[in-house]
């Protein structure tokens, strides 16, 4: 058995069967998650300005505005540390961001009723920034999902899985899930036209 180890480990080192790529993949997972939280924060930062602009034209829409404000508060209070995050924390984070997306979506639908608001330059600028940020969120999420898949491939597929079993003992990571409500929203996102 001892002979086997002496043969296998140099073999693995020589072909680089995961000794480098597995930790690298783990680092990439954490970096991509940090990027996702970054883009969500960027969105949260745009919201106060948006709420104030809308208030100026549509102050009667109190319920919708307050829903956005409270959803934002909930979302920003859930912070995660990518290197230490648990699946439960991640799920809570995703859930709160999803609720904020819904509240924002409803707000945008409501603004359709106010032509003066839609024509306001500040509102249009905020719209452009919000759309840009939503796209960045989508892109960062997609990359995160791809990175998780790459990592899971490394730890479950031979021969790197062998290195994982012998050396790192990482568990397969849970995939970032998009719940049903958000799936439906993504498929029928309200389009804002100028």
């Amino acid at each position: 058995m001892k002979n086997l180890i002496f043969v296998l480990i140099p073999l693995m080192l020589l072909t680089g069967c995961g000794i480098q790529s597995i930790p690298q993949a783990m680092n990439q997972v954490e970096a991509d998650l940090a990027e996702v939280t970054n883009q969500y924060k960027r969105r949260a930062d745009l919201i106060p300005n948006l709420v104030n602009t809308v208030k100026g034209y549509a102050s009667h829409e109190k319920d919708t505005l307050e829903a956005v404000i409270s959803a934002r508060a909930k979302a920003t209070s859930t912070t995660i540390d990518p290197s230490k995050v648990t699946p439960q924390q991640l799920e809570a984070f995703a859930q709160h961001q999803s609720e904020l997306s819904s509240a924002l979506g409803r707000l945008m639908v409501v603004t359709e009723k106010y032509p003066d608001l839609k024509a306001d330059q500040n509102f249009r600028d905020l719209q452009a920034q919000l759309e840009g940020t939503e796209n960045r969120i989508t892109v960062s999420r997609k990359r995160y999902i791809d990175t998780i898949k790459s990592f899971n491939d490394l730890v479950t597929v031979f021969p790197t899985s062998l290195t994982n079993t012998l050396m790192f003992k990482y568990a397969k990571l849970p995939q970032w899930s998009v719940d049903e409500a958000e799936k439906a929203k993504i498929q029928s996102a309200p389009e804002v036209k100028f």
Binding site: F6, L11, L14, T15, A128, Q129, E131, G132, N135, S140
Partner: protein, 249 residues
């Protein structure tokens, strides 16, 4: 859908060759003169150290959103140099009547979501609505180059008498063949290793004292080959994060 676009794997860069030119006009929006001018201008700006802008027009988006198509092109093309990231893609689709400016990480400070939205809404779309596609694209491209680095005055630096640019054509089939060959060789090396491992397990159990096997091809994707020969307009590993803006006409 991407007929004419060639995807090739080069050593470090994953470069994306569109006939080696900055402009790929599948939708036929551009007239000959404008296309030649844009090819020349964009190539020269890039060679002088300016941003790397690519203009792509498609007949349709194949059922995807323009943002999806745009970022997938950006991820393959990787315009701009690695860590410099000053690439930009101007993408248009004829059937859906959509336009998007996809901005590389290095230009997000100047080509903000807002700035690109304005270029689309105020410079390009008004022209498109009147059917002036060539002019709209040209003005949009120049606006992008100017807005990206206003202090550099890239356009003003150029000789007004622009020569015709003829980029190197990349033989797609040759590259695909070489890639497949090397990938195949890399794949075979995996099976060789597995065979050797079993061989040594067997030998070890016969108490021969393990022999040490050295050498090997390293990696499962048997390396690519060097980038294209000079003259091609290709990406350098630049990154994109989804910044920019979209619009329609």
């Amino acid at each position: 859908m991407f007929s004419g676009l060639v995807f090739a794997n080069s050593e470090a860069e994953n470069s994306f060759y569109i006939n080696g030119r900055p402009v790929f006009d599948a939708a036929g929006f551009l007239d000959q003169g404008t296309e030649e001018q844009l090819n020349s201008v964009l190539q020269q700006v890039w060679q002088k150290g300016g941003p790397q802008l690519m203009i792509i027009t498609l007949a349709d988006l194949g059922g995807k959103s323009i943002e999806e198509v745009s970022i997938s092109i950006a991820d393959k093309v990787k315009l701009g140099k690695k860590r410099d990231d000053r690439g930009v893609i101007l993408l248009m689709s004829k059937a859906e009547k959509k336009v998007r400016i996809e901005v590389g990480d290095g230009l997000e400070g100047t080509l903000t979501d807002l700035a690109t939205k304005r270029i689309i809404d105020y410079v390009m779309v008004p022209q498109f609505k009147q059917g002036n596609f060539s002019e709209g694209i040209r003005q949009g491209a120049f606006a992008i180059i100017t807005q990206a680095e206003p202090e550099k005055k890239w356009l003003e630096q150029l000789d007004p008498n622009l020569q015709n640019y003829s980029g190197a054509l990349v033989p797609g089939t040759l590259e695909n063949f070489i890639f497949t060959l090397l990938f195949g060789l890399g794949f075979i090396s995996v099976f060789v290793w597995i065979f050797l491992i079993f061989l040594f397990i067997k030998l070890s159990s016969l108490n021969r004292g393990g022999r040490y096997y050295s050498g090997g091809s390293g990696g499962y994707y048997g390396g690519g080959w060097g980038g294209s020969s000079g003259g091609g307009y290709s990406g350098g590993g630049g990154g994109f994060s989804g910044g920019g803006a979209s619009g329609d006409w």
